[in-house]
Symmetry: C2
Subunit: 608 residues, 2 copies
Amino acid sequence: MSKITTPTVTTGPLPASRKVYLSGTAHPAIRVPLREIAVHPTAGEPPVTVYDCSGPYTDANATIDIAKGLPRHRTGWALASGDVEEYDGRSVRPEDNGNLPAEKLTPAFPVVNRPLRARAGKAVTQLAYARAGIVTPEMEFVAIRENLGREALKTALERDGEPFEAEIPDFITAEWVREEVASGRAIIPANINHPELEPMAIGRNFLTKINANIGNSAVTSSMAEEVEKMVWAIRWGADTVMDLSTGRNIHNIRDWIIRNAPVPIGTVPIYQALEKVDGIAENLTWEVYRDTLIEQAEQGVDYFTIHAGVRLRHIPLTVDRVTGIVSRGGSIMAKWCLHHHRESFLYEHFDEICDICRIYDVSFSLGDGLRPGSIADANDRAQFAELETLGELTKIARAKDCQVMIEGPGHVPMHKIKVNVTKQQQLCGDAPFYTLGPLVTDIAPGYDQITSGIGAAMIGWFGTAMLCYVTPKEHLGLPDRDDVKVGVITYKIAAHAADLAKGHPAAQLRDDALSRARFEFRWEDQFNLSLDPETAQLYHDETLPKEAHKTAHFCSMCGPKFCSMKISHDIRAEAQKEGMAAMAEKYRAGGDLYMTPEEIAAKAEPAE
Amino acid sequence: MSKITTPTVTTGPLPASRKVYLSGTAHPAIRVPLREIAVHPTAGEPPVTVYDCSGPYTDANATIDIAKGLPRHRTGWALASGDVEEYDGRSVRPEDNGNLPAEKLTPAFPVVNRPLRARAGKAVTQLAYARAGIVTPEMEFVAIRENLGREALKTALERDGEPFEAEIPDFITAEWVREEVASGRAIIPANINHPELEPMAIGRNFLTKINANIGNSAVTSSMAEEVEKMVWAIRWGADTVMDLSTGRNIHNIRDWIIRNAPVPIGTVPIYQALEKVDGIAENLTWEVYRDTLIEQAEQGVDYFTIHAGVRLRHIPLTVDRVTGIVSRGGSIMAKWCLHHHRESFLYEHFDEICDICRIYDVSFSLGDGLRPGSIADANDRAQFAELETLGELTKIARAKDCQVMIEGPGHVPMHKIKVNVTKQQQLCGDAPFYTLGPLVTDIAPGYDQITSGIGAAMIGWFGTAMLCYVTPKEHLGLPDRDDVKVGVITYKIAAHAADLAKGHPAAQLRDDALSRARFEFRWEDQFNLSLDPETAQLYHDETLPKEAHKTAHFCSMCGPKFCSMKISHDIRAEAQKEGMAAMAEKYRAGGDLYMTPEEIAAKAEPAE
């Protein structure tokens, strides 16, 4: 085995930011992270509190040691329930890492823990607890996170949005979270073997979440790069991360990732199963797949993407498509089905998959193997035939207390987006929807974070609970660290725009704080309140780098004479000098040249 | 005067592209440019024809000499009408260039032409001709451009979109263009003094257009940079360009730009007027402004942004806004009005402005001086009060045969976007709408091409005719050449996504051609058909640079074993080997395990 070189990751708070922890009441030991962004004292404003998924890496007081992993703070919660037991897990086998010779093997994660599973007859999923009327520590954790500390503000918030089918309360309680999970409208992906997790919820009545994809391929990348990608992705706002590795060392790389991940980790188990049969899809078997599920569940994977909706009968529906089947997992299963002339083993063994997931609380992400990969294929029969099957499987999974979310497209022109949400809600019992974009046009490889960011913002507004990011490298190659950041920022924009449009009660606080900073020329506050303070400052400083420029009442766009905000301040000063009322008096004699706001309001068309 | 250093600009076709010219029938002398993108012979497909606003710069056969300007091909058209006369124009004065000493002056453009204007009693605007039932060369030029050479394809095109109030014909005739202009639903911005122009139309029933802003500020940039920015912007797809210069040398810089611009050039005359009064808004007068209009009209500016809707009575409505007045022109006029306690001189002298515009055919872009500059201010009373005034002014301008488009927001959350279009159509007699974004959230300076690209795609779908771009430098500084490109590509994405969603009959052809290339691993075709072939190839080559990789059936995202498109091809080969019908036969005995597409169609829910 090669010598362990502990990967370095990016640590430290973002500018003007500090991490605060709020405690629970029902569960006093929980510590819920939020981020406070301070503004300049002259503003006379409190810090702005924002949701924070970046984990201890941005906590100035935390000590990070990647070879030790994050604190396993949830272990006590699971054990306290009395519903779980430790046991001797499955041993790691050479095929788990692609049968590499020792000198090419990624080192195993240095700390080994015995896995937990449900005791016989016990139900340990968040769904089971929710149905039983129990508010778990995870549920309370989620409630505190989602409130963003706004309890103090709740009387001041006006609601203004178009939420469609979403129903977002002014103020979130742990009991309400329990109801959302019990109904299946939300999931809390939280494998009992991932005790490093800071729990979060995915559902249309919660803040819109985003996922970042990482993982190596046979062509490129390594464990060190992938661990840093995970830390980097969550630093910028990824709420979950999927490890989509398809190369070597899949097991060991995943260990290093999960042990250091404060966010839910998702995988697509069929990838590793395919590696175990040397990449020959026809050689996949249920047994290999089942073993892979257990292997990954014991490691702590929080959700599995499973393409059980790609049934044999659906495959002919893809034959005339422009881009065929664009899902890796979907194409692998389709190949297997056709070769064997048999129904998908994922579909046939779905009950058994549920039996595995329920004893660890691994959530389902029912895969959209037949999603459209081009505008021409959008909303076609293949896509919706699979969605019907996913609806059927959702019922089966829930009957076994398994949490379920549904994956979605893809490439969809704007006018066809909304019906995707409507159909998914109807067919899949309002399970959370988790889409990839969608891309609203095919013509811009190199910019697909933008083509998909447009569709993602819209589909998030319509009720999609989580948006899977797309980077500039989509269709062209494996994303690197820079691509990961651009993808994450783009999807934070889409998710936040969706929250604003839905009328989420806390969303606009950040826009308003930043706009006030902008208007008052508090340049550093404007940067610090933005999604990417470093880039905002870098762009500003390209043309105005001096310290004095940070309080200048202009930038290089317009210069000192033409800055509209500067002139707006002049206008307000002028107006105050005169007094608006005095001006009105002056001109009332001369007719309606100048009216007061009240008079204008009485005459004018009401604002929408 | 400093020595003339002719600026260098970017020339040469885009990859695999050649420029073709189509002739007119009613006007045989016109030469309408289109771009053909060739694909690999193995595809067995014709070249893809796309709209081309990049001018002679991308014509391999053209000789470019910036100091001579582009061919003045429209001069004959104007003179042939008999409605115009040459005359001795206004002389350039030192204040036109900010009273700079000779050694700091940008050199005057080397070629001087006498301007044209309408003969007494003659109407020379496209609107006047359209109303008189005359199909001008400009109208036919536009019709040929907008058809994209699709006459041959017209029987093959299915219509699939949600156009809202737009009505896009399958095939565009010059007579139909005339009707659109006569109705006011479209404009053809084409100053008779801009004979280098390749005419284009702006209207909701035409392809969605985009504008790029260039221009110096007091802080930075120069004539050479601005001319290259213009050429660079149109290379990537900008349909019009606005010169928003606010620094020195405004007159001379504009000359160099217009003489070399194949696209309409817009300006905001109040900027230069303000420079003439040394930046002191209170010292503006109608006379200085009037003189500036004539100066710019004689140079050939195709459209003027005029903030005549910022009336004295509207200003109090902005006092409680979060970001006040964010329009340069709007804030300048507001300052003037308040200081003098008088109605806007633009509003009061609007008739006279029309009289100037009509004798040169300068189109109005009625400015949104009170657009919202933050989410908090979106759709407020100030914004819509101004829009009502713009509606009133539209009627006055059209009564004088002036072409009019209406500017729009701004910062608007997604749920408030559509009502902007509805109100504008109702209040402004369906004049073309020309919006800046809108940005759907304030929280991402550094990424405002994305925050606004989302809103732009949506508002374009709803019927906005032209989208004004935003670059990554928005709110932070003056954009450079790289920013210009990113802004243009982003807005081409938004405009094309809007065309797709509206069901424009030719839009999807490009998406389909690119997706076929992608599916068939014709990598270079995929790059060449995209909006930015160089970037697409660069990103691909970061991880797979070798020539052999350009025909590889995978990329570094998934590698050879996991490429879903590769596997899709395997699936199709397998299916053909067996024959789908044979497979169906095989299993029919065993029940419905495997059904034919027809059987599935009969059972399944119809695709939307």
